[in-house]
Amino acid sequence: MTAAKHDRLILDLAADLRPVRRLSPPLLRALVWLAVLAGLALALAAFANLEAVWQRIGAAPDLWLAVIGSAMTAILAAVAAFELSLPDATRAWAALPLPAALLWVGASGFGCLRDFIAPQSHVAVMSETADCLMFIVFLSVPLSALLFAMLRRGYPLYPGLTAVIGGLAVAAAAASLLNFFHPYDAAATDLLVHAVAVTVVIAGIRALSGRIFPVPAAIANNVTVSRVAPN
């Protein structure tokens, strides 16, 4: 068998060829995004009462474990998302941020027992947790805009999965930054609100994944074939 059946498509694709700039290694691209994130963290730290933050986080192991967990989730999920944005990536990359995510969720979940361990802690009330929700959701907007502008240069064959892992990176990053402005200890209500915020961010990005990433070849078939000039 020969390639004769696909002659027209091949000629068409060759005619359509434009020089492209090769993508940098995915790890490097992830680090660019994380560097922007670090810059944002430094800027926010300038406004935060760092002493209070340090005191609060150092008070109980579950608090700093949760911070480490969310920060590691952001880093690893960003790396996984950039790897997944390549067409030859295996889905196994999606598992990369899971251990960190488990630490994050587990340590936060432990905070639910706070009422029994340290009853004098200031537990956030509903109106205060609404601020957390807004903070996470609104901080996610610029972070995800940058992340997905970068991811779009790739061509993921699992666009939905890539979007979810990218969304996890964004939500974890926003939740990590929230610690600068979070004078409450973790509690069930607080944790629930954070979970809702993270889910909203991931689900929103997942829903948009069809528009974020290029249309899969299979769907666009007709468009390209009809573009072939008869000769």
Partner: protein, 232 residues
């Protein structure tokens, strides 16, 4: 086609980097991390064919249409092999080829010539083959393939051996072979649909004789056509 893309001009042992990396340390770290998720095929040393394709793809990334066209033609049998191995039916193999060619085109900036082109292509082709199997599977869940429905006779034995036109001729022939009295009984009672008393008047036979003759005629005809059906 550029000089670099011509197979016999390549002098490269596969160890030195194909292209100068802009961030050498980073590239090494990144490819180290990728090793964890590499397929078995990718760990194998790269063949001369694979190196040639990597060079062609690098040339295509720079805009070399000749190298690109040659590379795409070269890819077609490789993609077919992957699709067939994945269990894609013969009717759909060319669809997979087309999908993969389009994917190569749109994803060409993501290929890193330091890595195996064959492995890159194979992963994409397998993914597209699976996509197609799912699409076809969904289609089959909604639609039934029933070619028998379009046949006039689902049961082959019900089909007359000859065309309908000659079937009439065979009936005439069978009638003609009957004895005179029996043929008469069939004509008046069956073909002309007369009642038994009318028939008795027109033929001047007794009702009993007509009934006996009709019975014998039908028995003879049944025997004749029954035999034919069994034969066919």
């Amino acid at each position: 086609m550029s000089a670099a893309a011509q197979p016999n001009l390549i002098r490269w042992d596969g160890n030195q980097p194909l292209l100068p990396a802009r961030f050498p340390g980073m590239a090494a770290l990144s490819s180290g991390a990728r090793t964890l998720f590499m397929s078995e095929a990718e760990r194998q040393p790269r063949s001369a064919d694979d190196l040639r394709r990597a060079v062609q793809m690098a040339a295509a990334q720079a805009g070399d249409r000749g190298a690109y066209e040659a590379l795409l033609r070269d890819c077609v049998p490789l993609i077919r092999a992957v699709a067939v191995r994945r269990g894609v039916a013969a009717d759909y193999v060319e669809d997979v080829v087309q999908d993969v060619l389009l994917t190569i085109h749109r994803a060409r900036q993501t290929y890193d010539p330091r890595r195996s082109f064959g492995a890159w292509l194979r992963t994409i082709a397998e993914r597209r083959a699976i996509d197609l199997l799912r699409r076809v599977g969904r289609q089959h869940a909604r639609e039934i393939h029933a070619p028998v429905e379009f046949e006039a006779f689902a049961d082959e034995r019900a089909r007359p051996p000859d065309s309908a036109a000659s079937a009439g001729g065979r009936v005439d022939e069978a009638l003609a072979s009957l004895p005179e009295r029996q043929r008469e009984a069939v004509r008046v009672l069956v073909l002309e649909e007369q009642s038994l008393s009318e028939a008795a008047l027109t033929t001047s036979r007794s009702k009993g004789a007509l009934k006996v003759n009709l019975h014998r005629a039908l028995k003879a005809l049944r025997g004749r056509f029954g035999e034919e059906t069994e034969r066919s």
